[in-house]
Amino acid sequence: MSTKVVYEPTKGLTDSPLSYCPGCTHGIIHKLVGEVLEEQNLIGESIGVASVGCSVMSYEFFNCDMQQAPHGRAPAVATGIKRVKPNHTVFTYQGDGDLASIGMAEVIHAAHRSENITIIFVNNAIYGMTGGQMAPTTLIGQKTTTSPRGRSLDQGMPLRIVEMLATIPGATYLERVSVHDPKHIIKAKKAIHKAFEVQTNKQGFSLIEFISTCPIGWGMTPNDSLEWAKNTMIPYYPLGVYKDTREEREPWIKE
């Protein structure tokens, strides 16, 4: 009897079991990034930057050289790496507390300089790792451990990151995707492909924002979380390509 391989785990990830909670979509996003690294033949030459958040251990999961950055500083760390290793693929993997709060300056200026790096930005509308506190991306009315009555307007309107970054001339490719169902997962993977191609073509800064779930922080079942991502998050954070200046962009000149 011959066996047919129906599923093989991507070589873009290591064998280490992922540390995420059941139903957390961090795992899906890892898998997609790993597959793209493998399909674009980037595994053996890439340098990833892990951030601070539930994904801090991603340096154990991505099957390439990794550096762990201080909270929010991943785009600066990636800048340092890329400037001295311009012919290697450099990416960061960051949550929304990491990128949209403490690390806002670093991401804006990496985009502003059009650093030739790729940012994987995971927006789950909450601080997962520290126990479910309010993030800049937390929705109005959303209950968290530091907005126990639901986020109110005086705590700020949720920040839309790709929309904001789209105003920066240096940003080359920006897209918001979701991983709440198979159809969207396929789209999300295409977006990651594009982002890494931008980098390989030396066209500057690319960032993909993922609408992601946090069943633990949200206090929901995995299924309800997927529904909430679809029905509550996406209306406020519409999916789509927010910036694509690949056509106009000369290959990155900074080397």
Partner: protein
């Protein structure tokens, strides 16, 4: 070799290039601006990287990234900027990454003043970052000494896989002196098999740069490994100069610009027949305790002189171990004392204090 007349900050910048610096990341702050300005022009000529970061926080994290990828990296700043770099410095020490950090010190606390100061002594020697770590810290007294130290600092940082700080006060950064930049050095460029430089395929394994150890036992083991390096620095890297201490009864302990002032005050004292010398720390960490041990028994009085309010005096007291009578003199806030002023302090001790 020919000496050239150069401003301290520019000479230090050129010294970094000569020391094999591959990349500079920094943010403007007085009184060190001439250093990045010089590099912004000259790094490119040498095919090297210069980036003006959006903040000191970003700059030190760029240093962290580039050092993790195996490059020889420099950043420079001044006191409030160095305060902001502490997070990255702690990460680098924890992840065992080499880098050189130049601190052209100014008055503090807070925004303070832009005048020369030594008030970052505690920040330099104790570190403002979290955790059990140390920086190897130098405090040169002249442009020539600063240049020689910086040229060699990248090698030292690589050797220990630890950040090295060069702390100078604004006076040395801003003044001009003839300096010889051509003294040959051994760059000692070694391969860095630990670097996360994107050669996983060639290497056959992934490299990881990190300072996270969730298991307390693992972190303790890691910290004890760091301690072995720090212990080695303490036994091998202490540097100091003894000036006219052979017959001295009173020895001034001073570093950086204060040591230059002390030289003049010593000359004045000697003219009056007072037997005064100096112990000049060149490393602030490790503190040159060996210099105190080298003093003969004729030295009965120590006078700490610093441009800060007793910060180094603490280390003098520790090094002295209660053996000699100790005195303290200092100015703060960017005030640079005159040699006359220091001489008066010396004379006062001698006339009152039973120094024969």
């Amino acid at each position: 070799m020919a000496k050239v007349l150069m401003k301290g900050n520019e000479a230090m910048a050129l010294a970094a290039i000569k020391g094999g610096c591959d990349a500079f990341f920094g943010y403007p702050i007085t009184p060190q601006n001439e250093l990045p300005e010089y590099l912004s022009y000259h790094m490119q000529e040498h095919g090297k990287i210069f980036v003006q970061a959006e903040s000191e926080v970003a700059a030190i994290n760029m240093v962290y990234g580039a050092a993790g990828a195996g490059a020889r990296v420099l950043t420079s700043s001044s006191s409030p900027g160095i305060a902001l770099k502490q997070e990255g410095i702690s990460y680098m020490a924890g992840s065992e990454l080499p880098a050189v950090i130049i601190n052209v010190m100014r008055g503090g606390p807070g925004l303070g003043s832009i005048q020369p100061s030594q008030a970052d002594y505690n920040q330099v020697t104790r570190g403002g970052g979290n955790g059990d770590y140390h920086l190897l810290a130098y405090a040169p007294e002249s442009i020539q000494e600063a240049v020689d130290i910086i040229k060699d600092a990248f090698r030292v940082a690589d050797k220990y896989r630890n950040p090295v700080m060069v702390a100078i006060d604004g006076l040395i950064g801003q003044m001009m002196e003839p300096v010889d930049l051509d003294k040959p050095i051994d760059l000692d460029l070694q391969s860095k098999p630990w670097a996360a430089d994107g050669h996983g395929a060639k290497r056959g394994k992934n490299n990881k740069i990190l300072s996270l150890f969730l298991d307390t036992k693992d972190l303790e083991t890691h910290n004890l490994k760091l301690k072995v390096k720090y212990d080695q620095m303490v036994s091998e890297e202490q540097r100091y100069e003894l000036v006219q201490t052979d017959d001295a009864e009173l020895v001034i302990v001073a570093y950086g610009s204060m040591a230059r002032i002390a030289r003049s005050a010593i000359a004045m004292a000697r003219q009056k027949g007072y037997r005064v010398g100096m112990l000049r720390p060149i490393t602030l960490w490790p503190y040159p305790v060996q210099g105190f041990e080298a003093l003969a028994s004729n030295v009965t009085h120590l006078l700490t002189a610093e441009m800060s309010l007793g910060q180094m005096h603490q280390d003098v007291l520790i090094a002295n171990e209660g053996q000699r009578q100790t005195h303290w003199f200092g100015r703060t806030g960017g005030v640079v004392p005159s040699a006359d002023e220091l001489f008066d302090v010396i004379e006062n001790i001698i006339l009152k204090g039973g120094v024969a």
